[in-house]
């Protein structure tokens, strides 16, 4: 930590101590930057600088500037079409189901907070806590009809072996279920926390009005946590369109069954790792980023997420 704290103070002081602007006190701007400055520094060093460098590498091939070469090479890659189709299908299935699961469970839990509700949140979070090779083991056995506690379900789907489960149409269904199981718990906690933090008097007022639980949820609670929902939406859209962990886990569980470039993000990883081609990895990653940002922009403008209280009061 020494290395960081030493250079930091000069940086902060280097900011002209906020000259009075429209009669504001200079101390205010100084305070603002003292509080946000360290984060801004980390943002620059570990966020922007790498992103900028990635943008640059996406235009470089074999050490020299090559224009759009990496970008066209990525677009021409025969694996991209399949991967994009997979991811789109996955998003269409996973995102609505995830959102519905998270919202319904968080609101149902919040309708009657208490010990049971907290215990259930922990249960919902459990699958998300298992990661890496252990997740590969877990899911390999979950999809093996002979040894899975879900075997009646698998048999119902006519799945006779893990190989079976990972081929054809059942793969996407499986990934969706996995994706919901792994991601829902964390968001339920976030949303539940947000609901818990709502001013009690407003909720009590709604109850006194005799509004039904359903109406309270839809017309009172939901609008009050809309920024959180927007946040869930932005993050989930990005993580869904960059889906990586679930197919990779299944690849580790049963090598050779699923293409290692099943999703777009996996393709980017193959560029960056197996191929050592950072230019293409950067180009593809930035394209994914652009799609995520487009979605984020739509959500942010629709929900006026950035407004501070003062500007929001119109």
């Amino acid at each position: 930590m020494k290395t960081l704290t030493t250079p930091r103070p000069p940086t902060v002081r280097a900011v002209p101590p906020a000259r009075p602007r429209r009669g504001r006190r200079p101390a205010r701007a100084t305070a603002v930057w003292i509080l946000v400055g360290p984060y801004a520094l980390f943002l620059a060093v570990f966020g922007l600088a790498p992103a900028g460098y990635a943008l640059w590498t996406s235009f470089v091939h074999d050490g020299s500037f090559s224009g759009a070469r990496n970008w066209t090479a990525v677009l021409d890659d025969y694996r991209l079409g399949d991967a994009a189709t997979h991811v789109t299908t996955y998003l269409l299935l996973w995102l609505p189901i995830l959102l519905l699961t998270v919202l319904s469970l968080a609101f149902t839990l919040h309708a009657r907070p208490g010990r049971t509700s907290r215990a259930l949140q922990l249960v919902y979070y459990l699958p998300g806590a298992v990661t890496g090779s252990a997740a590969a083991l877990l899911w390999l056995f979950m999809i093996s009809p002979d040894s899975s506690p879900f075997s009646p379900l698998l048999k119902l789907m006519d799945i006779e072996s893990a190989t079976d489960a990972l081929s054809g149409g059942s793969l996407i269904a499986l990934l969706t279920v996995m994706g919901v199981a792994v991601h829902a718990g964390g968001w339920i906690v976030v949303l539940y926390g947000a609901l818990n933090a709502l001013p009690k008097d407003v909720l009590e007022a709604a109850q006194v009005d005799g509004a039904s639980a359903w109406r309270t949820m839809w017309h009172v609670k939901l609008p009050m946590v809309r920024t959180y929902v927007a946040f869930v939406l932005i993050s989930s859209f990005a993580s869904g369109s960059q889906v990586f962990v679930e197919p990779t886990v299944l690849t580790t569980a049963a090598p050779g069954q699923i293409s290692p470039t099943w999703s777009v993000n996996q393709l980017a990883y193959v560029y960056a790792t197996q191929d050592g081609d950072f230019g293409k990895a950067a180009a593809l990653s930035l394209a994914m980023l652009a799609i995520g940002l487009l979605a984020a922009w739509i959500v942010i403008t629709r929900t006026r997420m950035y407004a501070t209280n003062s500007t929001d009061s119109r």
Binding site: P10, V15, L140, S144, D146, G256, T273, D275, G276
Partner: protein, 432 residues
Amino acid sequence: MKRWHAAFLAAAMALVLSGCGGTGGGVSSSGGGKGELLVWVDNTRMAAAQQYKKAHPDLKMRIVTIPPDAGYVPTKISLANRTKSGWPDVVFLTNPAEVATLSSEKFGYAAPLDDLVPASVRDGFAPGALDTCTFDGKTYCLRNDIAPTVLWYDATLMTKYGYQVPKTWAEYQQTGLKAAKEHPGVIVGAVNGKYGAGTYFGSSGCPTRDTLSLTKVHIDLTQPNCTRVADLLQPLAEKKAITTVGPIDPAFSKFGKGHKILMLPGPAWFGDFMFAPAFKVPEGRIAAAPMPTWPGESKPYAGQVGGGAFLVSAHAGDRTKDATDLVRWMTTDVGLQARQPTYPAFTAAANKWGEAKSKDPYYASDPMPALTAAAGALRAGFGAVRYEADWQTSFNDTLGKAVDSGGNLRTALDGWQDKLEAAARTSGYTVG
């Protein structure tokens, strides 16, 4: 006005940053620094490396365990290439196909060993074992172990059903069809990923990955060497005598436990690492025979499914000799290799290794004659390629699917051809 503040701040931060960069400096030597020999091996090879270190107290040596993850070594090497530092001097590859990546011009990591390892030593390896390591006449690695395929079979079942172990592929097909008819549920093979592609197509000499150089590969699935495999499997698929369930799928143990595996052509290591631990086949049943032969050929040829390799870094500098000595010892020391888990690539070591295997009570009969013959008859034209992963999945997508759905396997070959060509081109090969 305020915008300028932000800009100023950014500039100041950039200054601080570059300051840090200046003072930081960096270790820019290869290897472990301080002239240490940096050795990367997987856990299985760890004990041997430590034994070597103990035997050479003067040699400064740092041994690091690496994960056998596909892509780990190429990732690390390409990062090291960027910073011109941190290259290991010796690397063990669990996925020998990565030799194709690491010796490519872009990576430029693997050192050619032709001048470092005498031809007399290289000739001691199983014939064709070093083909995987060889491009444009240069040898870039030494094989640690090989995985030649043999025809594994259940001797008890064979006797019980009154069948003969097939000597030719035609007999294999007849036996399979007969078994499917008389004993439904019994299987005679698995066609899944590398197990299907390497065992059947690799042993037949079908050019799916015949590397002509580091940048040129020969892929032609219209050849008789390929179509004869499709014709062999077609009726077996229709009668469900072969399965597409992967041997590593827990469901495969159903076949083993139910005594449904009549035959299973597969790599040498299936004997020790699959039949008992994964398939749960009890002791005294499993035996090995040579792969069946094709018409017009006088002897059986083996395909390959796995096997590791050692590389020496092209950046090892004055540690090159130490690095080479280590690799030589690791791959050719008979005493050491005789104790390793899988079939040694070095022939003298393999013979010694086999002494214990011959007496292993797990097998119904001595598997060594078949294994030794297989190691001596590796089918040529099975090179290390940079599209290894796609080679496997594209097999499942085309032939695997056709086997499952009762489709035409010859037609499926066309699909596989297209996918292989696309994969090869994307990995920087010209297809010829």
